[in-house]
Assembly symmetry: C2
């Protein structure tokens, strides 16, 4: 072992995992900027493990190349190809950090000990064996890990699919017992509503894992639900913050319920909503299975489902899908109309979801009524309603999203 | 193990290693072309292992990025960065080959079992453990290996430096007991002289390792001497051929001496020659060491050295360096002039080497006289002369290279 006069990073107490997304390492200047953030974290006395995404649109360029050489590139080769994008960022980040006087070492997923199953393009992490990372930290070097990837037991390279780099970062933070995982991205944190639509929106200082999951699933693109779930499972505090400012960000963690806490934390929206209604179906056991099983087989993700049985023994059944899946879903359901004895089909592509979210809602009544009242007062018609313990969602006309968000933000006293 | 109805490739007798250089995989269309060549080799009944370089100028682009993020990128990180270039080519080639109906699998150097020492940027192969390659061949898949790289015992990625991908290919051919190693490049083979300067030049059908080494060291850029040496050591026949035509190429192999064989195989030239002469040095033991030791310390490669002791106990000592090294070499030697008691220095940057090469020369006299006669008749003045068993080299004015090459090509009956 080489001797090193640099003080060793205390592995347990003060270790931070920092993940930098694609825009945060989009060019040489941004990589140098991110390296300065890592350096100042080190200089503040923390140990740091860095996880990086591929630079900007590298992944798209590699996919385009693959399509030029083969009609079907094959998932194993696609993963081997795409994984080079994060490896390039990792090496460049290690160089930039060394240039600032901090020894660093880039690691592929294999070197970092991130093991996955063999589901290429959407692999799941099965095990993290961070021996090499611990050795590098002990030797005073900052490990820079290529995100979004892992290796199988056969040493084949996999990619983790959506939310992959965030998942790498949270998994490493859990395996290393890090103090927290920081997601450095192109927004300053989680907001009470989309600030482009609701000027009175404010940044949340903290949020619970459950609330963040609802935000993530309801159109807030900041973090993928998968990484949030992993953080919740292992109790890893996740700080979402901007790479381009020093603003403090939003901490996602286990929030103790306090009586005085505001019960609604924010409003979320998603405009990628299409609705299909099957009209006048004789209600009988197995109906839902008959309808949704062909959709599942076609890999169409069905979101909200509402069924209302009438007095005449007939029912209207509505569900939402993403707009891209509407035509295929309609074709599949159309085939079922004679089989299930339905009167007909109705559909709309121009819908949106607005949701109010907050863990406090589960212990206090009246939120739904307040939400419907606010929307009625703003003249927003509600097409469908669904609820969970900590969320109420209304499907509305997409032209009215901005009006609805502002009305809800005000009604739930979120305006600053 | 998955069952596979494809007949197994016979590993020993008919296996071919094919290496495709940077221009041969320079874009998607060229990768598809190279894949078709691999496919036709497979369809002719051979087993094939493919080795690829990085696409076109990928390596230069990555180096440029590295210089944008750090003043000194560091050799370990540079190797990790650059190795992605060949990994991209390997995946794309595997996709293109699968698209033609031949199962293929890209392999990093680590997966392919290419072990090296830790001399980053110029690593030497210490061991090849082709277990995975053999398994893939047995399963009916074509292994596509990323060239130019290896891994250390610690799983760090290294690059092999100049001639790296050729060296990967020859080393794999040796380890696998392949029938031959094919180098697919942008020329049709080895010529009796540079066809751009000598229109009567002809392609050689075969050439010995020793002759090829002389050609490679004397300015023929087709193959790096290192890969030729490795081929000679392991007795691997190497076929140099074009990726862009079906011409048969040049086979580099162990050539039996036959009396009727032409004794001179070709003429080579190199215009990157500068000469430095130390005039009037008192000749004494240790003189050469005193002069060349500081040059070696400065990593300046000295080529030809000629020393001629006069009757007066003084000697003139001349040597050649590459043009890029001339100024630094002059500065170093200038400092020595008082110490060694030399009368002065002379130098020239506008020189060139012309050589005649052939293993037959060692067993037959008169070649030197014939060479000097041909140059004299063509009015080419000779500045320096050096010889080996199978080569005679003259240093001449670089303006006269074309005249000299044509004269020698004719004199040694190489014209077609």
């Amino acid at each position: 072992m080489a001797t090193d006069s640099r003080p060793l990073a205390p592995l347990e107490a003060k270790l931070v995992v920092q993940k930098y997304g694609g825009t945060s390492v989009g060019d040489a200047a941004r990589i140098r900027r991110a390296a300065r953030t890592v350096a100042s974290t080190l200089e503040a006395g923390h140990g740091v493990v860095v996880v990086v995404s591929a630079m900007g649109d590298t992944t798209d360029q590699l996919i385009a190349l693959a399509r030029q050489v083969a009609r079907d590139p094959g998932e194993r080769e696609l993963d081997h190809l795409l994984s080079t994008g994060e490896q390039v960022s990792a090496s460049l980040m290690a160089m930039a950090l060394a240039d600032l006087g901090h020894a660093a070492v880039s690691l592929t997923a294999g070197q970092a000990g991130i093991r996955t199953n063999r589901l290429f393009t959407r692999a799941r992490i099965t095990d993290v064996r961070p021996d090499r990372i611990r050795r590098e930290l002990a030797a005073g070097r900052v490990p820079i890990v290529a995100g979004f990837q892992g290796v199988t037991e056969d040493e084949d390279v996999t990619t983790l699919g959506r939310g992959g780099s965030d998942t790498t970062a949270v998994a490493l933070a859990a395996a290393l017992g890090a103090e927290r995982c920081e997601i450095h991205t192109d927004v300053e944190g989680i907001y009470s509503a989309d600030p482009r639509l609701v000027p009175a929106a404010h940044k949340l200082d903290e949020i619970s894992y459950e609330e963040m999951l609802e935000f993530a699933q309801l159109g807030a693109r900041v973090m993928h639900p998968r990484a949030v779930e992993l953080g919740e499972l292992h109790g890893v505090p996740i700080l979402v913050r901007s790479s381009f400012s020093d603003a403090p960000g939003t901490l996602i963690h286990r929030v103790e319920q306090v009586e005085v806490r505001k019960h609604v934390r924010g409003v979320a929206h998603d405009v990628d909503v299409a609705k299909i209604t099957i009209v006048g179906v004789p209600d009988r056991p197995g109906l839902a299975y008959a309808i949704f099983s062909p959709l599942a087989d076609a890999a169409i993700s069905v979101d909200t489902i509402v069924q209302n049985a009438g007095l005449d023994g007939k029912t209207d059944l509505s569900f939402t899908v993403s707009r891209a899946d509407r035509v295929q879903a309609l074709e599949l359901v159309q085939k079922l109309v004679p089989t299930i004895g339905a009167a007909g089909l109705d559909h709309a592509a121009d819908l949106a979801k607005v949701s109010v979210i907050g863990t406090g809602m589960q212990s206090a009544p009246g939120y739904a009524a307040k939400m419907f009242g606010a929307l009625a007062k703003a003249n927003v018609n509600i097409e469908m309603i669904t609820t969970s313990d900590i969320r109420i969602t209304c499907i509305i006309d997409d032209c009215q999203v901005e009006t609805a968000l502002k009305a809800l933000h005000t009604a739930f006293e979120l305006d600053q």
